[in-house]
Each structure stands twice: as C-alpha cells, then as structure tokens.
C-alpha cells in the first residue's frame, strides 16, 4: 500500500502461518479413531467435540475473516447501517436454541451428515433434498471466495502482492501458497484441522481486539473525538450517519432478522454443529457463543476509529488492515494481520468440507453411485473439497472482487429459502414435500430477480440487498421478503396438495428421534460406523 514491504509485520505473519500449517497436518493424529475412512471421521471430526472445541470451531467458523474486514468496512463507509451485524448475531442464539438440538438428535440417530440428508429422510424426497444441497453448495462457494478476498486485503496492506503493474503470477503467488497449504491439510486431516487451528485464530483475534479497542481510542483522544470525527465525515459526504434515519430502520431490522434466520442454514454452520459430542454441547454453546457477538460489536467500532485516524482508502475493505498498519507498532500489526489471515483459513476449510459433504451425500450417493461405501464417500468428499477450493480461487483471481461480493449477497438470500424445509421439518411433518419445493423455487426466483434489480451509485445490478417490500412500501431485506413469499406458497400449496391427496412420501424418522441424546437408549455415545443412511 505505502509502496514498501513491511518486513517486521510480514515476518511475524509468516511465523504464525507456518505454526498453524504444522498444526493443520498434525491435527490428523488428534483424537484419531480406528475407522478413519468414513465421512463421520473426515467430515465431522468423529462427532466427538466437546463444549470448548465446539465453541472455538463454531466461533472460528461463523465469525470469518471477511466478517472482520467487511463489518467495520461497512461502518467506515456508511455508519450505523453496518452495525446490523450486532443485532443479527444477538438474535441467532435464542433462535438456534430452539431447533439445533433437535437437528443434532435426529442426525445422530440416523447418521445424517448434512441438512439435505435430514430433508431426504424426513420427507422421502430426493428432489427436495437435491434442491437443499444445490442451494447450500451455491451459497458456500462465493463465501469461500470472500475468505480469499480477506487474505488479499491483508497481503495488500503489508505490501506483498505488488501493485497494479506487477506480473499476475508474482502478485497472486502469496495467495496461491496460502491456499495450496490450506487445501493440503484439509485434505489430509479433515475437520480436525480447522478445529485445532481455530484455537490459535480466536486467541489471536481476542488479543488483537482487546488491544485495539483500548489502545487506539487512547491514541485518538477518546471515544468522543472518534465519534465526533465520524459524524463530521458522514455529514460532509452526505452519506450515512451515527444512527439509522427513520427510513432506514426497516432495512436495519429486516437485515438483522433475515441474516439471523439464514446463518444456521449454511452448510458450514451445520457441519460444525453436528461434529459436537452431545445435544447439551449445542445448548450450552448457545449460551457462550454470544461472547463473539460482543467482540464483533467492538470490532465494528474500529470502522469509526479508521475515520478518526484519517485512514483514506478507496476500497473500504482495506480500511481496517490499514488502520492496524498506521496505529500499531510493526510487530503487533503482524499479529493482527496473522489473526485475519488465519481467520480466513478456518472457515474456508470448514466451508469446503461442508460443500464436499453435500455433494458426496446428496448428489454422488443419491444420484450417481447409491452403493458407495463409507471409504468411497470419504474419498469423493476429499477430492471435492479440493475442487471447491480451486473453484473459489479461480473465481477470485479471474473475476472482479465485486462479483464474489454480489454472489455472497445472493447466497444469503438463497440459503434462507431452505429454512421452511429444514426448520419446518424439524418440528412438523405437516408441510407437503412438493409444496416445500415449489415455495423454495418461488423464493429463489423472487430473491434473484429482486437483487438483480437493485442499483447503487457504483453498480447497475446487485447494488445492495434491500429493496421496497411489495405491499408494505418500506425498504427491507430481499431475502426476508423472498422467505415470506416462500412460506406463503408452501402453506397454500400444502393445503391444496393434501386436498388432492398427493403422495406424501415416507418419513423414516419418529417423534422421539428429535429429543434423543447421547446415552439414551438407541443412541450410542460413539456413533456406530453404519447407521441408517450410511448402511453398506
């Protein structure tokens, strides 16, 4: 950014990177099971993680490097509107408290690895399960790509990655190396690698935030000055402000609610959930995960500090890395950059595993090779996890960054449309499978068309995620509007299909499956290698 390479910061960054690489490969030996060639082992870490490992894993998974860069970047650019991430993560936990333990129980009982496994088992519909799987994969791919964007931002600020005129290969080499290493240890260690690395990532992040939130305001003359400077900037730019205006409140609330509903529809959230040892681990985690939300709130405030510190960047994504570079001594800037860089590796690994599991279980096994053995499943999953990452890499290297961001935005809208089938299915079998499929299609189409039609000062299409809600007239999150349409269609069509006596499909689950816990009769503490769904 400032021309030269920041040698000290880069050295610290590389040291941390090497350390986690070693950990990533060693992770394969951590809690190693006898039967390592099953998807439960590679893709869910043997379903053995306790409260703390799950806490680090979920935290490392949900609060990604991109979040760390994008949330304060949004504050830096637009002020209050970007803070919706905080109510969003507040609402997530009471929400998942109600349905996630049920998903854990039924998945443990029937050996489900993905949400689509559950949907297929519950509704007896491969079509619906395929829809959920494809949505999950489509929504995850750009998310992985954005993790790379996060690493790129850090590399840019450190001065590696070169300027606009450097040869593309030299420019992208650091990113290629980072991703090659990530791909290699994910391949060999599976979910155990990100679980172990998450410890390092989160410890670093907590240290960096704690230091930043105390050290930077002192340097800048206190929070009064920080917010004063920010307020002046928004007024001068005639954009944003310290509180959302009347007209922006619907947007703020619908974005928070819609995002909260969507978060645990993402395959990577579910992968981390299902890897836990017991139902209680999940419930307990809903009470300790909010610690991350607090951190996210503090982190968001860094956006204001970047304004007060006079950070001037054309790309808001660089605001926070640049703030660290300007404010911290070189060695600590290196620690901060390492935190963001490693913060990208953990979710990228989990996301690629989650997408690979979806492909293997719900496309490969359901449609291509129904008699695949657990060993074959694992092999396919490993290969697909590589492919998914290569795909994301190509995406980032060949296309403009805004494309990845647009698709991520769409991905959020899309993934929310799987909510009725998944969460609805966890509580009731009333919905008809075809109605769910039709509702999903309506939500997908409306969401995509609506998002395409949003223009912003810099983009003609996909300029934002909010649009006028038909019939209400307020500006709201497109994903939530699409979700409401989806539910309405599903309910109406269910009545219709039931009246027409359309075949309902076979439900392989029974009511008590949803409350079963490890140790209960019929649920082994250690999952047997072959349960329903994975039978030889």
């Amino acid at each position: 950014m400032n021309g030269g390479v920041n040698g000290v910061a880069l050295t610290v960054f590389i040291l941390f990177f090497l350390a986690v690489t070693v950990m990533g490969f060693l992770a394969a030996r951590w809690r190693k099971a006898e039967n390592e060639h099953s998807l439960d082992e590679w893709g869910l870490g043997g379903r053995s993680f306790g409260t703390w490992v799950t806490w680090f894993l979920l935290g490392g998974d949900l609060y990604t490097a991109y979040t760390f860069v994008a949330v304060p970047a949004a504050i830096y650019a637009a002020g209050a509107a970007g803070f919706f991430a905080v109510p969003y993560t507040i609402l997530v936990y009471p929400l998942i408290f109600t349905f996630l333990p049920r998903l854990w129980s039924v998945s443990h009982k029937h050996g489900y690895v993905t949400t689509s496994d559950f949907v297929r088992g519950r509704f007896g519909s491969k079509g619906l399960s395929l829809a959920v799987a494809v949505t999950g994969i489509l929504a995850t791919m750009p998310y992985i790509a954005l993790q790379l964007v996060g690493i790129q931002a850090v590399l840019d600020v450190m001065g590696v990655g070169g300027g606009e005129n450097t040869n593309w290969f030299v420019k992208d080499l650091p990113l290629l190396i980072a991703f090659g290493v990530l791909a290699a240890y994910t391949y060999s260690s599976g979910l155990r690698a990100p679980a172990l690395i998450a410890f390092v990532k989160d410890t670093l992040i907590y240290i960096v935030i704690a230091v930043a939130i105390i050290y930077i305001p002192i340097k800048l003359g206190g929070f009064d000055d920080v917010f004063g400077a920010a307020s002046e900037k928004y007024t001068a730019a005639k954009a944003g402000g310290l509180v959302p205006p009347e007209a922006g409140q619907w947007t703020y609330a619908t974005l928070a609610l819609g995002s909260a509903l969507a978060l645990f529809m993402y395959p990577h959230s579910i992968t981390a959930t299902l890897s836990s040892r017991s139902r209680e681990v999940i419930r307990r985690n809903t009470t300790i995960l909010p610690l991350y939300s607090l951190m996210l709130g503090l982190l968001a405030l860094l956006g204001f500090m970047a304004i007060a510190a006079g950070v001037k960047v054309t790309n808001p994504q660089l605001a926070i890395p640049q703030l660290f570079e300007d404010m911290f001594p070189d060695w600590f800037a290196g620690v901060a950059f390492a935190a963001i860089g490693i913060g990208a590796l953990v979710p990228a690994a989990i996301m690629s595993i989650a997408a690979a599991n979806l492909f293997t279980r719900n496309i490969y096994k359901d449609f291509i090779k129904p008699d695949a053995t657990p060993a074959q499943e694992t092999k396919v999953s490993k290969l697909v996890s590589l492919l998914v990452k290569v795909g994301a890499l190509v995406f980032v290297l060949t296309m403009d960054k805004t494309v990845a961001i647009n698709f991520q935005l769409l991905g959020g809208i899309w993934i929310l449309q799987t909510f009725p089938a998944l969460v609805g299915g966890l509580f009731t079998r009333w919905f008809h499978r075809w109605a769910l499929l039709a509702g999903w299609a309506v939500g997908m189409i409306y969401g995509t068309v609506a998002a395409y039609g949003v223009a912003s000062p810099t983009q003609k299409h996909f300029g934002g995620s909010a649009k006028e809600i038909p019939g209400i007239g307020e500006i709201g999150y497109i994903g939530l509007t699409a979700f409401v349409l989806n539910v309405v269609f599903t309910v109406v069509l269910t009545f219709l299909l039931k009246a027409l006596k359309a075949p309902d499909g076979v439900d392989e689950t029974s009511p008590e499956d949803y409350t079963a816990d490890a140790g209960d009769p019929g649920v082994e503490v250690e999952l047997p290698p072959a349960t329903a769904g994975t039978s030889h």
Binding site: L91, G222, L242, V243, Y252, T287, P290, L294, L301
Partner: protein, 82 residues
C-alpha cells in the same frame, strides 16, 4: 417442544417463562425506533451502539436462564415418567 407424556400439560408456567426469555431479544432488537438515537452517550459512545452491545449481555443472560429452566423442566419430566 418435546413430546410430553399426556399427563402433563404441554404449556406450563415455566415454559412460558422460557418462551419469553427467548422472544425478548427479538422484540428489543427489531424495534429499531426505540434505540435509534445518540443520547445518552456512555464514555463517548452514542446510545445506539452501547445499547445494542448491552443487549448482547442481556440476551446471553436470558438464554442461559432459558437453558437452566429447560434442563430442570426436562429432568422433572423424566423423573416423573420413569
């Protein structure tokens, strides 16, 4: 939420409290108009920001309460039927 044995009602006072604990954050956070203001500030941070951060703590306390109550409820039910 669970499939309770017939002898006990599905809706009990304890379960109502659990529901309130889980619903309260939604009401508080989605009613943006109630906190979209800058005053009073706290150590220089506008109300809008510190209020929402405070709700992180409040909702955590509420979820913990719900968790404790739910566990007690489940234990009582299991003890009563086995």
């Amino acid at each position: 939420m669970s499939d309770a044995p017939e002898v006990r009602p599905v809706v009990t006072p304890v379960r109502v409290v659990i529901a309130i604990c889980l619903l309260a954050p939604f009401v508080a956070m989605l009613w943006v108009g109630s906190y979209a203001k800058t005053d009073p500030t706290f150590i220089g941070i506008p109300f809008f920001y510190w209020y929402q951060m405070l709700w992180v703590l409040i909702s955590t306390a509420l979820t913990m309460t719900a968790y404790q109550l739910w566990q007690r409820d489940q234990r009582a039910r299991r003890g009563g039927t086995k």
